[in-house]
């Protein structure tokens, strides 16, 4: 298989580069390979879009995440503060 063909077929490598790119700068060669691949591959173009959406959503999810009913109960808090006071008085 020619070098170019390999790039065009290799979605595994392209998605790997998409993830790498979201974290650090790609080398020039990697960046070009990814561009060539994405130009011809609608699957990986969808993957790239969704990958960004997932990153953003996960971030928001963690920020806003106060799952209902999972707040600490008052007894636990009261006892915890008591433990702290105890330590302070040691």
């Amino acid at each position: 298989m020619s070098y170019l063909k390999k790039i065009i077929h290799n979605c595994k490598q392209a998605t790997y580069l998409i993830e790498k790119k979201s974290i650090k700068r790609l080398t020039l060669r990697e960046a070009i390979e990814l561009r060539i691949h994405l130009f011809g591959c609608s699957f990986c173009r969808i993957f790239q879009k969704q990958s960004h959406i997932i990153n953003n959503l996960v971030k928001e999810l963690f920020k806003s995440a106060m799952p209902p009913n999972s707040g600490l109960d008052d007894t636990f808090k009261k006892e915890l503060q008591e433990k702290i006071e105890e330590e302070l008085n040691k």
Partner: protein, 184 residues
């Protein structure tokens, strides 16, 4: 900026707890970590320089405790994890690297809407996150949520740099596939 341990629980316990629970998904363990964080903090009040807020300082202590948990869990689960990895490696890709026909990404239908907060979608995303192997989830969270340096993650979780990239890639491929399976 001074520390005020008399107010710690009322000021920070809920925050620290939610910080822990989103990362380790275990209520009892999260409670323990909150408690341990406060007790450890009391032991080292001298190291508080007042450069950051009290909450930031406490959160940093909690973060280290969470990393300990990640490390322990991922070591304890290493064998299972390897098996999981293989079975999970459902192989989304053909030998030549092309997507397998049944795994090719499809539109979710939410791609072009700005900031659409769809509860149902978020819920599925949360479930899919929980399905990731412990180590993958730890790496993913530390990178994408806590925005830690790659070198820090590698040394804290004892993964090699090349393994780090493999995990980052696999975590996303699996997470996305899980969303496609359960959303569409």
């Amino acid at each position: 900026m001074l520390l005020n341990p008399h107010q710690w629980v009322s000021s920070h316990a809920d925050y620290l707890y939610s910080f822990a629970i989103t990362r380790i998904n275990d209520e009892e363990l999260a409670k323990d970590l909150v408690q341990e964080t406060f007790l450890a903090a009391l032991q080292k009040t001298g190291s508080f320089e007042g450069k950051s807020s009290e909450r930031t300082w406490l959160t940093a202590i909690l973060k280290n405790k969470i990393i300990d948990v990640y490390r322990k869990k991922s070591q304890g689960l290493k064998i299972i994890d390897n098996e999981e990895k293989e079975s999970r490696e459902v192989d989304f890709f053909e030998e030549d690297g092309h997507w397998k026909a049944e795994h090719g990404p499809k539109e979710f239908g939410i791609e072009d809407k700005d900031h659409l907060v769809n509860k149902e979608f978020e819920h599925i995303l949360q479930k899919c996150m929980q399905k990731l192997p412990v180590l993958w989830k730890a790496v993913f969270t530390m990178k994408h949520i806590d925005e830690e340096a790659t070198e820090t993650i590698c040394s804290e979780l004892k993964v090699t740099a090349s393994n780090f990239w493999v995990i980052i890639h696999r975590a996303k491929v699996n997470l996305r596939a899980c969303l496609q399976k359960n959303w569409i």
